[in-house]
Subunit: 274 residues, 2 copies
């Protein structure tokens, strides 16, 4: 009779071939633009962090931050570590998007990826200050379906415009998977990962607790509303938005003045809402 101890001593995992495993992260931020009118509130844009690849494969193309899973960490820890390495910001929250495991997805070999959405607040990025010489850049995101059912993922940074085309494949449980028609200068299958991440983020943006992670500690309700509108590409009546979020926030006694209109009260996240 062989004991468990004996068995484990003789057990050799290397009998099976193993894939490399990476975590790739779609780090999103809401960026407030400069004011164009002294009294008008600024516009805001959803932005995504991309890294310009320095080496082969896909040299000089843009890719999601990510890296190989190490032996002493969980894959969520790996995702957080990768974001920290690129931005110097440790995100408060990450959300799984899915596993991308098509055998041919990486020309370097058998590499599967677990993808995450991460929310970064603009305030945190500004505080640490990103290295301008770095290959990491924040791209403005646009993601829409045209009349033929083709999704256009457009990522813009200065004069760099990346446009990927994707189609939608229904899988079970009402979920969709994106198929890349044109990867638009994005490396690997990252266009499909970003599409899935955006779909997940838009869906999650109904949850007020989630999108509060985009905001600094103190914020106005219209800034809060702008976050939801920017992500979901909808517009909400301010009166209704206030009612909806009332249980998620608490007033402070501070105001934002000097905006050319009535000062807005600053609010804080309510820790234990409901």
């Amino acid at each position: 009779m062989d004991s468990e101890k004996e068995f484990l001593e003789n057990y050799n995992l290397s009998d099976y071939e193993r894939p490399s495993v990476t975590a790739d992260v779609c780090a999103f931020m809401i960026r407030s633009e400069d004011k164009t009118d002294y009294r008008r509130n600024p516009e805001s844009k959803l932005q995504l962090l991309l890294i310009k690849r320095g080496g082969h494969p896909y040299k000089d193309m843009w890719a999601l931050p990510g890296g190989f899973l190490q032996k002493d960490e969980t894959i969520e820890e790996c995702a957080l570590r990768e974001i920290k390495e690129e931005t110097n910001v440790l995100p408060v929250s990450i959300m799984p998007v899915g596993i991308f495991s098509k055998p041919e997805r990486d020309p370097r070999g058998w590499i599967i990826s677990s993808a995450y959405v991460s929310i970064i607040s603009e305030e945190a990025v500004k505080q640490v200050g990103m290295d301008d010489a770095s290959d990491a850049q924040w791209f403005s995101v646009s993601f829409d379906r045209d009349d033929e059912g083709v999704y256009h993922l457009i990522l813009t940074f200065d004069n760099t415009v990346l446009e990927a085309l994707l189609s939608e494949e229904k899988t079970s449980f009402g979920r969709t998977r994106f198929k890349i028609l044109d990867s638009g200068y994005l490396a690997f299958d990252h266009a499909a990962i970003i599409a899935a991440a955006l779909t997940a983020l838009r869906n999650e943006a109904k949850n007020y607790d989630t999108i509060l992670d985009f905001l600094p500690e103190k914020f106005t309700l219209s800034a809060f509303q702008k976050v939801q509108e920017t992500i979901m590409n909808v517009s909400v009546l301010p009166a209704n938005f206030r009612r909806m979020v009332s249980s998620y926030v608490t007033e402070t006694d501070e105001y934002v003045r000097g905006e050319g209109h009535r000062p807005a009260k600053l609010y804080k996240r309510k820790t234990n809402n409901k």
Copy 2:
């Protein structure tokens, strides 16, 4: 200048240590019990497929069906293949639950697992007939939170009762992760995987399209209702349930007779609802 081709020829993934990757599947079925009363509709139970481990580690304990990812398949294909191997049924639908990647989760070494929920219809299982001599068995599932916030996962098959205890850990995005307090004769971290799968399934059971996968081609509306009630552990008024599902089903002209009460019309899933 090194070409991409050259680079890839010299690239060697084996510089990095790699984990083994498995897919583990929580295959659920709704089992109709025998009638206890000539006129009363039968009760139904949510069941989960478990395999008795024949070898070390966790010899003679119960585990989820699953297996190692192969080089020519996606991880979803791997999950479907494993279920097919155990049940002879190819499930219509699988849903991701999460990645379990704690370095010490498997005594055999560095093995991470991607977990799935799969819905199997009782009709399909009956048709192929499961090998009774097999180590695979369907366990009835009960999963509830007690007053102290401890979750009790109780799996029952004949005289075998497995009870695992878990606590809930809040992670970001309103998600929870379960921590095993007592694994209750379940192998590896499978108690936590099952808890996560049940949480996902209960949440998904609000979606009528999803739970239709538990049913045969033709079904009564009360059978449909029973599925939702069994999974979510709630009760719904029949009149309201009918209204809610009306856009998901179409009538047939067949009836179920001989039940000691008014015959029920059989319905079919509407392919393109709304």
